[in-house]
Symmetry: C2
Subunit: 268 residues, 2 copies
């Protein structure tokens, strides 16, 4: 899987976006994940560490090993974790499909926004399972871009989101993976699988969410593939810009934006 591409790229603005996203969503996605003191936790696919810092803060006495396939991302993650004064995380370069840990090396495995980028998400889950001790847990968090809807509705905005979904699919990923977590995790052989949807709902009574999620997280993410979508003729520049404008429009005082993340847990 070396050399795999990442649909959002590796720019600095992207890193900032991931940080904003991490802060806004930390409570919604992470608050019910707390690992006991001394437990061995594998974070598979830590990226630039946006989720790592939250994970480590919520489980300050767990021993976390965070792996990623990109050394550039690992460097950023390491820097971020150091800046936060976090000391319970070890970073290691590695491919989720080919990790060199012995069977039962971990009590818990955690993946956040990783499966969506893999051509074989079920295969990844199957490969990770033996690394868990008997009874150990896996936690998987994913978004689903098909869960986005908004007011005012806009064909252009929906088409712009569709471009991101299509581009991610071309790179072998699946931006609609959230809805699929139950069959994926259960199908990979985990038991006691439980999925809980986490809906982000932003209206004028929740201006922080409209800013932090609708604008800085979701719309910024869609915006990030604009040049590629336009250069490849998926949408005209004019239509694209209207789509992005319409997405920002939904964070105004009479607008509404909805998006749903899915969190799955299972047991070896």
């Amino acid at each position: 899987m070396s050399g795999r591409k990442y649909v959002h790229g590796y720019t600095e603005r992207e890193a900032e976006r991931l940080s904003d996203q991490g802060e806004t969503l930390a409570g919604l996605l992470h608050d019910d994940t707390r690992y006991p003191a001394g437990s061995r936790v594998l974070e598979a696919g830590c990226g630039t560490g946006a989720q790592t810092v939250i994970l480590a803060r919520n489980s300050p006495d767990a021993r976390i090993t965070s792996v990623d396939i990109s050394q550039i991302s690992l460097d950023a993650a390491s820097k971020r974790v150091k800046a936060e004064g976090i000391t319970n995380v070890t970073f290691e370069e590695g491919d989720i499909f080919d990790l060199h840990y012995g069977p039962g090396s971990f009590d818990h495995i955690f993946l956040c926004f990783v499966l969506e980028h893999l051509a074989e998400p079920r295969g990844a889950l199957e490969r990770l399972r033996p690394l868990l001790r008997e009874g150990g847990t896996i936690t998987v968090i994913e978004g689903d871009h098909g869960s986005a809807y908004f007011h005012p509705d806009s064909t252009h905005a929906r088409r712009a989101i569709g471009c991101l979904v299509d581009l991610q699919r071309e790179m072998g990923g699946n931006a609609l993976i959230g809805r699929e977590l139950y069959p994926l995790v259960a199908g990979a052989g985990y038991r006691d699988v439980y999925v809980s949807p986490r809906m982000v709902y932003a209206d004028a009574s929740r201006p922080d969410l409209a800013r932090g999620f609708t604008e800085l997280t979701f719309t910024a993410m869609v915006e990030g593939v604009g040049d590629e979508a336009v250069n490849r003729g998926m949408m005209s520049r004019e239509d694209w810009e209207r789509g992005i404008r319409d997405l920002y429009r939904t964070s105004r005082s009479d607008g509404v934006f909805c998006y749903t993340f899915f969190k799955a847990t299972g047991r070896r």
Copy 2:
């Protein structure tokens, strides 16, 4: 508004569907609506009483007045309420846009699955507001068919849902109204408006929901407009049947179905 059409029709199967829906969703949608003893409650647009019986059971000592524009629906509602042994509901024929109650006649107003069928939902909310006493509350529950997504995904299933949305729009309604409740209720002059989404998520670990909601409620509702959609050339019979089959398919053991209702409260 007399003679207004109702997209789902008035057949017996439709009444059954509404009853199944009422039972399955009662907890999710109604459990946090409890009116105090003696309070005067107006249920505006009670239809065949599917929500009325839940409302009355949850607030057994409130005095509920349930109005509807259709005498046929009122007769069915009255029968249903009697069969349940409920005695705190009075039925009255009336048009939401032209009710003959004095100002401040009610402590609370309740509407469930009503605004979606009205050409002027905001106007209806504005007309109802003076009927509330100062400080009285309004509660509005609506679905949003654009919030439906599922696994396996299916173009035909999405097109079939789109037919229902289009047919409802042609009749002056809005099947995507759920997402819009905040601006609607706030725009009609209510204060302290709060909207909470209520997501139905059905996977193999929740077979009752897959049966009760995915099959008996949602898919049965879409199925109900099949003849009209096909006769009007919106989809071929073959494509339509495939869409319906694909919707039922999502309730199998590796399928997932998602839908979101929205509940808004506000205060005069």
